[in-house]
Amino acid sequence: MTTQATTMPTGKREYKGLMAWLTTVDHKRIGILYIIASVFFMLVGGIEALIMRTQLAQSNLKLVNPELYNQLFTMHGTTMVFLVIMPFLAGLGNYIVPLMIGARDMAYPRINALGVWLLILGGIFMNLSFMLGGAPDAGWFGYAPLSSIRTAGNPYGMDFWALGLQILGISSISAAVNFVVTILWMRAPGMKMNRLPLFVWTTLVTAFLILFAMPSIAAALILLFFDRNFGTFFFNAAQGGDPLLWQHLFWFFGHPEVYIMILPAMGIVSEILPVFSRKPLFGYAAIAYSSVAIGFIGFTVWAHHMFAVGLPPAINAAFSFASMIVAVPTAIKIFNWIATIWGGSVNLKAPMYYAVGFIALFVIGGLTGIYLAAVPVDFQLTDTYFVVGHLHYVLFGGSIFAIFGGIYYWFPKMTGKLLNDRTGVWQFWLQFIGMNLTFFPMHLLGILGMPRRIYTYAGDLGWDTLNLVQTIGAYLIAVSVAVFLWNVYVSLKNGEKASDDPWDADTLEWATSSPPPAHNFDSVPPVNSTRPLWDVKHAGVKWDKRAESAHLPNPSYMPFVLAFGLTVVMFGLIYNPIISLAGLVIFVAGFAGWVVEPVG
């Protein structure tokens, strides 16, 4: 089922080299840009983590001072959430979703490009703060009034945070709008909602979560910026403000954010398991509905992050109840996944290792969540290392393991080369052992009374051994990431060439060449079930491979100009309104160009 590299009409203009990337509106190239940016920031956030782990290896070490340590953990969290997991999943969605639903591209190609440039520029913007007087330093959830009071030692760090997140938020919202419209309107004939691949389902739910959650943090960030710069006091109690307002606004975003980071990861696992078990997904409908349920219930649990702030017991109990209930749809998924493997023909390749590893680790993250939902236990565990351990089992054991599984699974589709599987299995075991050594002792330390976000600890508290184990684990994770980068390098250079469908898979992205042509498909197979390609291969469904006509939009550099202008505006808001004015001119120019240019 090779697709001929026919010269389809690709618009009137063409660019080459770097310019081709800068002006691209092709969802596949945009997806790759997202993914490369995400892997780059993963290294940045990873180095931040390694410095912290080295500082904490033993009591009373003095590798970094408290000010730098506070910047490191703030930027580690912010980076991993907003610049690694979210963009990776957005990038993967960009690349794979249109292919999975048999579409030529995303619904709004230029908005798609705007999203990735905002992400890249926003990430650079925020990280430049390290060189411009200090990075953000009030924690990734930026509790006011610590975040809203300007400190002399680091005057602009939190302004970079507030404005940088605003840029990233616009990026996320633009991507979410695009996913919603694409998934609802651009499906191939026969691709009904109840035949959507699970990764598409979870991406759709995630897009809605972003649309409803992001405005809450956007508003909070504006208030924060006003408090810091214009003398307002939304969060300043002495003048009638309320510090808890920040927490409500933040966590109304912040908890759905967890599902924004985990639902598409669950989608990835739901794609890998059936293919590598050679069975359909067990309980397709239950998994799809439970994703939607998580989307709704996920908005009702935010105050479980705030049990200790002094809410009335009845309120705490209500949020505790909702937090327990949200575990049910997750439990459903886990059992359905195991049932998918059960009775299958399990092909233990690197993607499958990661998918199984995801389940194994995510179960632990889910179970430790119950302790935190039980209010009296949470009173003891909140703000300790137990929480740090819990969240890393969810986001590292969960999201990151699914992400690596996704990379091993779709790399051949994206590049035409298979990643080396043996190296992949090595990477898996190093990472699996490393992550357990790093994050499991965190639970114990939390129980032993170690608060989170402390840059040092005394030697008489009995925390040294477990901390040392964690630090060793963290370096093991670093080795596993190095193995991954090596694998990518070697495989791109001399890797085994990938066929169109190297895994004997079920979904439409495998019904085109690896990598796919600019127009994605010459012809899309008929869709009669959740497994159109399986039907062609095993159920005798006929696929008419005559090429259909395709029309692709012009490349455009306006999205980049617009994103660049907005970033300059943000710089000006920190340093000088004149810079903002210049940024505004660029922004308006980009906007005007966007409106008038021929779309092809």
């Binding site: 009034p145 610590l146 030692g153 300043n236 002094g310 575990a327 194994a360 430790t368 039980a374 032993l448």
Partner: protein, 335 residues
């Protein structure tokens, strides 16, 4: 109550397992696995219940997962398993089962929460104000003001009113009870009834800036007699300096910048920005509960507070050795 006693009977075994697991690592850690009040013990019981459930679930789920991966491993490339799309009965079962288990956990959570959140009447009242990065401690009914070291009598309820002065802090003594935040503009309350005599370590649990790691404190649980003696001593004005050096120290203190922030009862020092030092020498630690209170450390502190506690906001001019010695002599006399 009867039900909770029932499950208490099974749980010590599981709890003991957890303790055993951790004891090897850390006999010294401040942990609620060794509760010293019913408040902490109730949370520990609930923890043990969830521990039991989660270990059982863990073994079940991970076991099924491992078994299915190993048992159904592909043996030949052309094998074709039966194509099963689902099973409604099974799926209903594994929807209802976790929901029921979680409802049970919620039931105990609800019960424990109500017990913990019912404030007792009577007992000792303590007001704690969290500042960057130390604790102001006040006994409004007893007329005692101190810092970073909270004395309470054993077997009596102690109720706390908690306020945050600058940013949000969190009050936590693991062995005695869970956390409660100190939020600016809000008065929170919590309580515990200590049942063991001893010194318990507490800490600020909410990230509050540069010296967050060094914002600790202690709770000293005493017999009623010892507590009464302590209160009586604390109510006194500061001891007058005896030696010449100490007298010189007093002068340095009340004529220097110190009075802008510190109070010493019975002198001209009436500042309220920093800790009250009236009975400074009676405290085991200083600097927000992190530095052992001895002559050597105090000298080092007065020469360069930043070296002992980076980020702290104590402002002190460069002092000569004579000035430092005089101040230390004076402060050491404030029993």
């Amino acid at each position: 109550m009867h039900r909770s006693n029932d499950f208490k009977f099974i749980l010590p075994a599981m709890g003991a397992l957890a303790v055993l697991l951790l004891a090897g690592c850390s006999p010294d850690s401040p942990t609620w696995l060794n509760p010293a009040s019913p408040n902490a013990a109730k949370a520990t019981d609930l923890f043990n219940l969830i521990f039991l459930i989660s270990v059982a679930t863990f073994v079940l789920v991970e076991g099924l997962l491992l078994y299915s991966v190993i048992r159904f491993r592909r043996k030949s490339t052309d094998e074709m398993p039966t194509q099963i799309h689902g099973n409604t009965r099974l799926e209903i079962a594994w929807t209802v089962a976790p929901a029921l288990v979680l409802l049970v956990v919620f039931g105990f959570t609800w019960q424990t929460l109500n017990e913990l959140e019912t404030m007792p009447t009577g007992g000792v009242k303590v007001k704690v104000v969290g500042s960057q990065w130390w604790w102001h401690v006040e006994y409004p009914d007893l007329g005692v003001v101190t810092a970073n070291e909270i004395h309470v009598p054993v077997n009596q309820p102690v109720t706390f009113s908690l306020e945050g002065k600058d940013v949000i802090h969190s009050f936590w003594v693991p062995e005695l009870g869970g956390k409660r935040d100190l939020v600016p503009g809000k008065v929170n309350t919590t309580w515990f009834r200590p049942t063991k005599i001893g010194t318990f370590r507490g800490a600020c649990a909410e990230f509050c800036g540069s010296a967050h790691a060094n914002m600790r404190f202690t709770v000293v649980v005493q017999s009623q007699d010892d507590f009464n003696k302590w209160v009586a001593a604390q109510k006194q004005d500061a001891a007058a300096p005896v030696s010449d050096l100490a007298k010189q120290g007093e002068q340095e203190f009340v004529k220097g910048v110190c009075v802008a922030c510190h109070t010493i009862g019975g002198t001209a020092a009436k500042g309220t920005v920093g800790p009250n030092l009236t009975h400074f020498a009676a405290r085991k630690t200083f600097g927000g509960g992190i530095i052992e209170n001895n002559t050597e450390n105090l000298k080092a502190w007065l020469k360069n507070p930043q070296a002992l506690k980076p980020g702290n906001i104590m402002v002190i001019p460069k002092l000569t050795d004579t000035q430092v010695n005089a101040l230390v002599e004076y402060l050491n006399g404030l029993k």
